[in-house]
C-alpha cells in the first residue's frame, strides 16, 4: 500500500493543481531529466519515476508512458536523445523525438536503446494512463476513459476515484465514474450500499457484478443485488419495447412513404397504378444518378435528389397517365393490367439501360451513425431521417389537398366530375396534376428508400403489394387513414418478428389484412356521404 498511498497523495496534489497545469509543459531539460531517470533506474525505482512523470502535468506524459508501456520509448545512445519508435522492422528504425514530436527519420537499430518495462509496471501504467485520461481537459476523452474503467478498477485506482468524482464537472463522466467505483465496491468488498448505485445501470459490467453478488453467500447482499437486477431488467424491457417501437415506426414510415402517393392516385383519383412501385424505383435511381453526377458530395446530391426525384417520377407518371390511363377511364381492371405492363417495361428498361445488379447509394456522413439514448438503446440516424421525412411529406400533401386551389379542384373533380366541369374546372388538367403529384411523391419515397434499402430493378416490386395493402387497410381516399395504417402495420410487423421470424411475420400481417378487409371492406376509415358512392 506504500507506493499506491504515496501515488494517490501525489495524484491528489496534481489534481488540485490540475486546471492550472492542464496545458502545461515542463521545460525540455526537466523532461530530459525525467526520461533519463526512467531509463537509468531499476524496476523498483521506475515506479516512482513513472509517478513523477504522470504527476508532472506535462501534456506529453501520456505519449511517453503509453510508448513506455508498449516498449517503444527509447534513447539513442550516440546523442542521448529520447525517441519514440514508430516502426521497428528491419535494420533501421523509424523514430520521432519524444520531446518535440518531430520525425528523426531512420536510425540504426544498434544505436537505439529501448527503455525496459516489466509486467507489474505495465499494469501499474495502465491505471496511471487511465487516470491521466480522466484528467484530460477534453470531456469526450474523459467520458471514454471513465466508461472503459467500469469493471477494470483496481485497488490503487479505487482509492483515487472518490476524489476524481468529486472534481468531475460533467455529469455523465461523473455517473460513469460512480458506477465504476460501485462495481469495484460490490465485487471486491461486497458493499451493499454500492448495490443501490448500480440498480439503474444498463451497463453490462454492472449487471455482471450484480449477478455475481446475487450468488454471494451474504444473504442481505444477494437480496439487494437481486432487487437491483430486477429493476435493471425492468428498464431493459422498457428499452427493448422502445426499440421495437422505433423499428416499427421506421418500417411504418417507409410504408407510409411508399403508399401515400398511391393514396392520391388510387385513393383520391381511383386510378389503379400498378407501376407505382416502379415510380418509387425511378426516384431511388435518380438519387443514384445524382450521386454519380456529383462525386464526393453525397450529401448535396441527396438533397438535390429530393426535387429531382419528385420531378422525374412526376413526369414519368404524367407520361403514363397521358399514354395509357386516360384511355381506360372507368375501366379499373383494365387500368390495373395496362399499368402492370408499364411496370414490367420500366423494370426491364432499368435492367437493360443501367444494370440488372443493385447500385450502391452512399449515405452522407450526417445521416450515418446513431444516436445513443442510453447504453442499451441507440437509434440509427438514417431511419430517424426517414421517419421525419415521411411526416414532412405527409404534412405537405395534407396542406396541398386541404389548403390549395389544386386540392379543392381535385376533391371537386373526384366527387362529381360533370358538376366540377360545369363550374369551369378543367378536369383534364386536374387529372394530370393530381397524377403528377401522386407519382412525384412516389419519387420522394424512392429517394428516402435509397438510404435504407438496396437500389435495384426489383425495388418497386417489393413495395407495390404492401402499398396497396396500406391504402386499402387505411380506407381509400383518406390520407390520415393511410398514415395510421402504414405506421400500425409497420409496428405490428415488428412486434411479430421476434417470435415469428421475418417471413412469417409478413405472412401473418398479410393474412390479417385479408381478414380485416372481409370484416370492413372499406378499410379503417371508410369514406362517408356522397364521396363514398361511385
Amino acid at each position: 500500500m506504500g507506493i499506491t498511498g504515496s501515488l494517490s497523495r501525489l495524484l491528489l496534489v496534481c489534481l488540485l493543481l490540475w486546471p492550472a497545469m492542464a496545458t502545461a509543459q515542463v521545460d525540455d531539460s526537466e523532461a530530459q531529466q525525467l526520461l533519463t531517470a526512467l531509463a537509468e533506474s531499476s524496476f523498483a525505482e521506475k515506479k516512482d519515476v513513472v509517478n513523477r512523470i504522470a504527476g508532472s502535468g506535462d501534456e506529453r506524459a501520456r505519449i511517453w508512458l503509453e510508448a513506455f508501456a508498449a516498449n517503444k520509448l527509447a534513447r539513442i545512445e550516440s546523442t542521448g536523445q529520447f525517441v519514440i519508435v514508430l516502426s521497428n522492422r528491419g535494420r533501421d528504425w523509424d523514430v520521432e523525438s519524444a520531446t518535440t514530436g518531430e520525425s528523426l527519420g531512420e536510425v540504426s537499430r544498434r544505436d537505439i536503446d529501448t527503455i525496459r518495462v516489466n509486467n507489474s509496471l505495465r499494469s501499474e501504467l495502465e491505471s496511471i494512463l487511465s487516470v491521466i485520461d480522466l484528467k484530460s481537459p477534453n470531456e469526450d476523452s474523459r467520458l471514454t476513459a471513465a466508461r472503459a474503467l467500469r469493471g477494470n478498477v483496481d485497488d490503487g485506482l479505487a482509492d483515487q476515484l472518490p476524489d476524481l468524482i468529486e472534481a468531475e464537472t460533467a455529469s455523465d463522466v461523473r455517473l460513469a465514474l460512480t458506477e465504476a467505483l460501485a462495481i469495484y465496491q460490490v465485487e471486491e468488498q461486497g458493499d451493499r450500499s454500492a448495490v443501490a448505485v448500480l440498480s439503474g445501470s444498463l451497463n453490462s459490467d454492472a449487471r455482471a457484478a450484480l449477478q455475481n453478488a446475487a450468488r454471494s453467500d451474504d444473504p442481505a447482499l444477494a437480496a439487494a443485488a437481486n432487487k437491483a437486477l430486477e429493476s435493471i431488467e425492468q428498464k431493459l424491457k422498457f428499452n427493448r419495447a422502445a426499440e421495437t417501437l422505433y423499428f416499427g415506426l421506421s418500417l411504418g414510415s417507409v410504408l407510409v412513404l411508399a403508399a401515400i402517393g398511391l393514396a392520391i392516385t388510387f385513393g383520391v383519383m381511383g386510378v389503379i397504378n400498378m407501376a407505382h412501385g416502379e415510380l418509387i424505383m425511378l426516384g431511388a435511381y435518380t438519387t443514384w444518378g445524382m450521386q454519380q453526377l456529383l462525386p464526393g458530395q453525397p450529401g448535396l446530391a441527396l438533397i438535390l435528389s429530393i426535387p429531382a426525384g419528385f420531378l422525374v417520377a412526376a413526369l414519368a407518371g404524367i407520361a403514363i397517365e397521358r399514354t395509357v390511363i386516360q384511355h381506360l377511364k372507368g375501366r379499373p381492371l383494365e387500368t390495373l393490367l395496362a399499368t402492370f405492363g408499364v411496370s414490367l417495361i420500366l423494370q426491364q428498361l432499368v435492367r437493360t439501360v443501367i444494370s440488372p445488379l443493385n447500385r450502391t447509394v452512399i449515405t452522407p456522413d450526417w445521416m450515418s451513425g446513431s444516436v445513443m439514448i442510453n447504453e442499451a438503446l441507440s437509434l440509427t440516424l438514417n431511419r430517424m431521417y426517414v421517419i421525419g421525412f415521411a411526416l414532412v411529406v405527409f404534412a405537405g400533401l395534407m396542406l396541398i389537398m386541404r389548403k390549395t386551389r389544386l386540392g379543392l379542384e381535385v376533391r371537386a373533380v373526384t366527387q362529381n366530375r360533370a358538376m366540377a366541369r360545369s363550374m369551369g374546372i378543367k378536369a383534364t388538367k386536374v387529372d394530370i396534376l393530381t397524377f403528377g403529384l401522386g407519382s412525384g411523391v412516389a419519387g420522394l419515397a424512392g429517394v428516402a428508400l435509397s438510404q435504407i434499402t438496396n437500389v435495384g430493378p426489383n425495388l418497386g416490386q417489393n413495395y407495390i403489394i404492401d402499398s396497396f395493402m396500406v391504402v386499402v387497410f387505411g380506407g381509400v381516399g383518406n390520407l390520415w387513414g393511410t398514415l395510421l395504417a402504414g405506421l400500425s402495420l409497420g409496428t405490428i410487423n415488428q412486434l411479430l418478428e421476434p417470435w415469428a421470424g421475418a417471413v412469417l411475420a409478413k405472412i401473418l400481417v398479410l393474412v390479417f389484412i385479408i381478414l380485416f378487409i372481409q370484416k370492413r371492406p372499406k378499410g379503417l376509415f371508410p369514406q362517408k356521404g356522397r364521396a363514398a358512392e361511385g
Binding site: G341, I345, F468, L510, I517
Partner: protein, 373 residues
C-alpha cells in the same frame, strides 16, 4: 342436362374438333414419322405442347371467373400451384427409396433437413387416388374459405383483385420457408414415375400430353355447360349489375362462390398435369407476376369466350418460348407492351377480332346491331 348441352353447340364442336385433331396429328407425327423427318415431333416438343395445354386449361379457369363472373383474380396461380404441389407430393412419395439418400419414406429434402418422420399432411400421398382427390380439394378448399369470406362481405372489383394478389404473395412467402415441409426454395423435383409409368420415357410423355388435352376438353365442356346454364346467366348478371341481381332475389354470393370454387379446382387440375411434364414445382408458381400473366393470356385471347383464353394462352406462351430463346431481355418488354396494347387497343382480344370479321362477312351491320355491339 347442362353438361351435354354444350356438345350441341357449334362453337364447342369446332373447338373440340380442332383440339382432338391436334392431339391425333401430334401423336401420329411423334409415333410414326422417322426421327430425321422435318415433320417429326420430338418428345421435347410434345412436352412443350403439353405444357401449353396446361396453361390453356388454367386460362379457361380464369376466363370463367373473369369473363363470366366479373371477378379479376390475380391469385389463380395459387390454385394452380396448390394442385401442382398435391401432384408433386404424390410423385415425391413414388420415388420411395430411390432418392439420393435412399430413405424409404422421407423425401430427399427432409433427410437433408434432418427430419425424423413424415409430417402429418404428407400421409396418404403415396396413394394415387388420395393425391388426385387432393388435387381438387386443396385449391377448392382454399377458394371456398377465401371466397366465402370475401363474397359474404361483398368485397368485389379492384379490392378483390388486390387481396387475391396478396393471397398468392403470402402463400409464396410461406412456401419459400423450409419449415413448411414443401422443399422450400427448391420445391419438389427429381420425380421418377407416375402410376407405375417411368416419367422419362417418350410414351409416358405422350400419354401425359394426351391426358392434358382430354382434361382441357372436359374442362372446356364443364365451363361451357356452366355458362350456358341458368346459373351461368345469373353469373353474367352478377358481372354486369351485381346490385340489381341481388335485388331481384338471387343469392349473388352463392353464385360467385360456386363459380369461383369450380374455377379454382380446374386451375388445380391444370397444375397437377403441369408438374409431371415439367418435372418440378417450386414456390415461383405462386409469384404474383405469374398470376397476372395468366390474366393477360385471357385478355389477349378475348374475355368471356373461353376458346379465346385457350388461343391467348397458347400464343403468349409460344411467344415466350421463342423470345426467351433468342433474346431473353426483350421478353419482359414484349409482355409489358402486350399488357398495354391489348387493354388499350384490343379490349375484346383476338376473339373480338374474329367475331367482327365474321359479322362483317355474314351481314351488313344494321344500326340496331351496332348499338348493341
Amino acid at each position: 342436362m347442362w353438361l351435354t348441352r354444350p356438345l350441341q353447340e357449334r362453337s364447342t364442336q369446332v373447338f373440340l374438333g380442332v383440339l382432338f385433331a391436334a392431339l391425333v396429328v401430334v401423336s401420329a407425327l411423334h409415333l410414326f414419322m422417322p426421327e430425321d423427318s422435318a415433320l417429326y415431333v420430338s418428345s421435347y416438343t410434345v412436352t412443350l405442347l403439353g405444357k401449353y395445354l396446361c396453361y390453356a386449361l388454367l386460362a379457361v379457369a380464369v376466363d370463367l371467373v373473369w369473363g363470366y363472373l366479373g371477378i379479376l383474380s390475380l391469385g389463380h396461380g395459387a390454385f394452380f400451384a396448390l394442385g401442382g404441389y398435391a401432384m408433386g407430393m404424390y410423385l415425391m412419395r413414388q420415388i420411395g427409396d430411390r432418392g439420393v439418400y435412399g430413405h424409404p419414406t422421407l423425401p430427399d429434402f427432409m433427410v437433408f433437413l434432418n427430419w425424423q418422420e413424415l409430417p402429418w399432411y404428407w400421409h396418404g400421398f403415396d396413394m394415387a387416388w388420395f393425391a388426385f382427390i387432393m388435387v381438387l380439394l386443396a385449391p377448392g378448399l382454399l377458394a371456398l374459405v377465401f371466397g366465402f369470406l370475401a363474397f359474404r362481405s361483398r368485397v368485389t372489383g379492384v379490392y378483390l383483385s388486390i387481396i387475391t394478389q396478396a393471397l398468392t404473395f403470402a402463400l409464396m412467402l410461406a412456401f419459400f420457408r423450409n419449415e413448411m415441409g414443401f422443399g422450400g426454395n427448391n420445391g419438389l423435383t427429381d420425380f421418377k414415375d407416375i402410376l407405375g409409368f417411368d416419367l422419362r420415357t417418350d410414351a409416358t410423355r405422350l400419354g401425359l400430353f394426351i391426358a392434358t388435352g382430354i382434361a382441357l376438353a372436359i374442362g372446356y365442356v364443364i365451363c361451357r355447360g356452366i355458362v350456358t346454364s341458368k346459373l351461368g346467366r345469373v353469373s353474367v348478371a352478377c358481372r354486369d349489375a351485381e346490385a340489381r341481381t341481388r335485388f331481384l332475389g338471387y343469392r349473388v354470393e352463392r353464385v360467385q362462390l360456386f363459380v369461383f370454387v369450380v374455377s379454382a379446382m380446374l386451375a388445380g387440375v391444370a397444375g397437377a398435369l403441369y408438374v409431371p411434364q415439367v418435372g418440378i414445382i417450386n414456390p415461383s408458381e405462386f409469384s404474383p407476376l405469374f398470376s397476372i400473366e395468366i390474366v393477360v393470356w385471357v385478355a389477349l385471347g378475348g374475355r368471356a369466350t373461353l376458346y379465346g383464353a385457350v388461343i391467348g394462352a397458347i400464343l403468349v406462351n409460344y411467344a415466350k418460348t421463342v423470345f426467351t430463346g433468342i433474346m431473353p431481355d426483350a421478353w419482359l418488354f414484349a409482355l409489358g407492351g402486350l399488357f398495354v396494347l391489348v387493354t388499350v387497343f384490343l379490349p375484346k382480344g383476338i376473339a373480338g377480332l374474329l367475331q367482327k370479321r365474321k359479322k362483317a362477312e355474314t351481314t351488313e351491320p344494321t344500326p340496331a346491331q351496332e348499338a348493341t355491339a
